[in-house]
């Protein structure tokens, strides 16, 4: 791609990824969540594939596939954490520790350490989606060839 595209992509890469991470991390407080945030981060991968060519990321294919498995496995394991009561029971909510705080009432900037297992599950889903969508985009790029860079 042209130097304009590559420069803009370089500038945008970090904000896009950070915004995606923000959506994932605030999944239990604001609209959005693991799936949406993961998709935003995957769009950063799409940006790299479009601007610099899929060959740049060829080596990351394996990493993405491992991350995808880790995300899915982590989600299932988190669901298992509540099995003392019921499957999917929010075992961390209201316990007072990290992530176990109660949500403050009234206008507030957003307390991230609330929600029990929900933020952790959002992270797991975010990882799964960013790796899954990312590797799909990457594979399409690799299969299609990118000789027009």
């Amino acid at each position: 791609m042209s130097v304009v595209v590559r420069t803009v992509a370089r500038l945008l890469l970090a904000p896009v990824a950070i915004f995606g991470a923000y959506v994932v991390m605030h999944g239990h407080l604001t609209p959005g969540g693991g799936f949406q945030g993961g998709a935003v981060i995957a769009s950063a991968i799409a940006l790299v594939v479009v601007a610099f060519g899929a060959q740049r990321l060829r080596k990351q294919k394996k990493t993405l596939s491992v991350l995808e498995d880790v995300g899915a496995t982590a989600f299932a394991v988190l669901a298992f954490l509540g099995i003392g009561v019921t499957f999917f029971y929010n075992a961390l909510a209201g316990t007072g520790g990290l992530f176990g705080q109660t949500v403050p009432i009234g206008p507030n900037p957003g307390a991230l350490n609330t929600g029990g297992l929900l933020p952790l599950m959002n992270w797991a889903v975010g990882l799964k989606v960013l790796a899954g969508l990312g590797s799909m985009v990457l594979l399409l790029g690799l299969l299609g060839g990118d000789d027009d860079r």
Partner: protein
């Protein structure tokens, strides 16, 4: 007690976790992956058997996800808002079928699939499909039912398509994908209609509310259409022979279980969800589609010359028998005569018998493929000289499928013939005719592939894991054939009863009172 209460979810969650963690294990070492697959498979089978023992012994078992206690199905306002699992006798029976086929397929895959040719992928997807089927069979929530339907769709199409180095599997997978997605969307639309009308997704709650109005009947039509696509009944059957015929042997038998899960969904919707509102016309529709399926697919099987496709058409025809008998039960469900109950028992019993003998046949086809590298009846021959076990198992499966006593196919087919005859002698005669044709087809297949002079081909014998997989199914074929009355009295009759009259008990288990 606390562990026993968690059994329904453990049966679904174990293969799900196994499916996602299997590729990670494979990254470490392929032996660790095989060991992990065996552990997960054995645990799942153990959970399903425990669940079946609990349900057949102690009645319906409910499980509420994320609640304060597993049996707290109702929220604070007395409304079932969480996802519930409801394991009644029919659900537990279907779970047993998936345990039989899933377990046999996993063991067979250990010896059949090859490293470097997608073994990790196929075993991982197999576990995912297993988890999806179990969820479909045990869930008590209509939207959750759709979600699991989609999980089975994705896993099944992945399993068919993964051998991309051959040209046919991706094409078969595409056909299957189109039909499954279309069926899934019809189910989703039905779920949306019912949710819009009643504001609830819990099947027991909906069952209590459904009165048979226009929207209810539209939703019923969409559900029946969508699930018949999944089950492969005749006008929508074109994906099934391709999928079964092109997939690996271990994939094909899980696809059979998946097809039966679609059929189970249909029966669950008709008898439990619409138990009060289903009319005899729906029963006649199912009956005629069943008769059509039996006849058309058997006639198609006659002209096949590839072993895999031939067995595949046989597999679809058996779905026809189940539909035929289930339709008879639906036609008569208002009057509840003796033969309607017998028809339903025959239909339910035929599911597990078909699972065993069709499963055995597909595994034999896989062994023939592995031994000779081809499945074409015109170039095969004389395999009985070298492949003794495979030819014995194939003969056993073929005779059982055609309904020769004392094998298991005879036991359930007799129940189907008797009950269908009471409703319509012509349909019964058609069913018998199709069965005779099926016998002819399989005699030809056996003669073509296994009998005749020895041929000069390099033959590769089946591995021990494959023989174990086939042996388990063969044992079931013989055992259910010799003692059908034990099976019917203790397992099949309660399962059929759960559909026939168990609707009130199903609602009471979830809604209380």
């Amino acid at each position: 007690m606390s562990f026993a209460m968690h059994v329904p979810i453990l049966a679904i969650a174990a293969p799900l976790l196994g499916a996602f963690s299997l590729p990670l294990m494979a990254k470490v070492h392929h032996r660790l992956r095989d060991l992990w697959a065996i552990i997960v498979g054995a645990f799942t089978v153990a959970m399903i058997v425990t669940l079946a023992v609990q349900v057949f012994g102690g009645g319906i078992q409910v499980y509420t996800l994320g609640a304060e206690a597993p049996d707290a199905t109702l929220g604070p306002e007395g409304f079932p808002i969480r996802i519930t699992l409801v394991a009644d006798a029919m659900g537990a029976f279907m779970a047993l079928i998936s345990a039989l086929l899933g377990g046999a397929a996993l063991v067979y895959a250990l010896g059949f699939a090859q490293d470097g040719k997608g073994k990790t992928l196929s075993m991982s997807l197999l576990l995912l499909l297993w988890a999806g089927m179990l969820g479909l069979k045990l869930t008590g929530d209509l939207f959750n039912f759709f979600v699991f339907l989609e999980i089975t769709t994705v896993a099944a199409c992945g399993l068919i398509a993964y051998r991309v180095w051959e040209s046919r599997p991706p094409e078969a997978a595409f056909k299957t994908l189109v039909m499954f997605i279309l069926g899934g969307l019809m189910v989703l639309l039905a779920v949306a209609l019912l949710y819009g009308e009643y504001g609830a997704l819990n099947m027991a709650y909906l069952s209590n509310q459904i009165g048979g109005g226009l929207i209810d009947r539209m939703a019923l039509g969409l559900l029946v259409g969508g699930l018949l696509m999944k089950a492969g009944a005749v006008p929508m059957h074109m994906w099934a022979p391709d999928a079964y015929g092109e997939a690996d042997a271990n994939t094909a038998i899980v696809l059979v279980a998946n097809t039966q899960a679609g059929l189970y969904g249909l029966l669950r919707m008709l008898f439990t969800l619409y138990g009060g509102a289903a009319t005899p016309e729906v029963g006649w529709l199912i009956t005629s589609l069943g008769a059509l399926t039996v006849l058309v697919t058997v006639l198609m099987a006659v002209v096949q010359h590839r072993l895999g496709r031939l067995v595949a058409y046989g597999a679809v025809s058996q779905i026809g028998y189940m539909l035929l008998a289930a339709g008879v039960a639906l036609v008569t469900v208002g009057a509840r005569p003796e033969f309607g109950q017998l028809a339903l028992q025959g239909s339910v019993f035929h599911m597990i018998n078909d699972a065993a003998c069709i499963g055995l046949l597909f595994l034999c086809v896989g062994a023939v493929h592995r031994a000779t590298g081809t499945g074409d009846l015109r170039s095969l021959g004389g395999l009985a000289h070298t492949e003794r076990w495979t030819s014995g198992f194939f003969l056993l499966g073929a005779l059982a499928l055609a309904g020769i006593p004392p094998l298991n196919g005879f036991a359930s087919k007799l129940m189907i013939y008797q009950s269908v005859f009471m409703l319509s002698p012509i349909l019964a005669a058609l069913a018998v005719l199709a069965s005779i044709l099926l016998l002819a087809v399989f005699v030809r297949a056996f003669q073509g592939a296994f009998l005749g002079p020895r041929q000069n081909v390099v033959s590769k014998p089946p591995s021990p894991a494959m023989l174990i997989g086939m042996g388990v199914l063969a044992a079931v074929v013989i055992a259910f054939g010799l003692f059908p009355d034990v099976m019917v009295r203790h397992v099949v009759a309660p399962a059929a009863e759960a559909l026939w009259t168990g609707r009130d008990a199903y609602m009471a288990a979830v809604l209380g009172g």
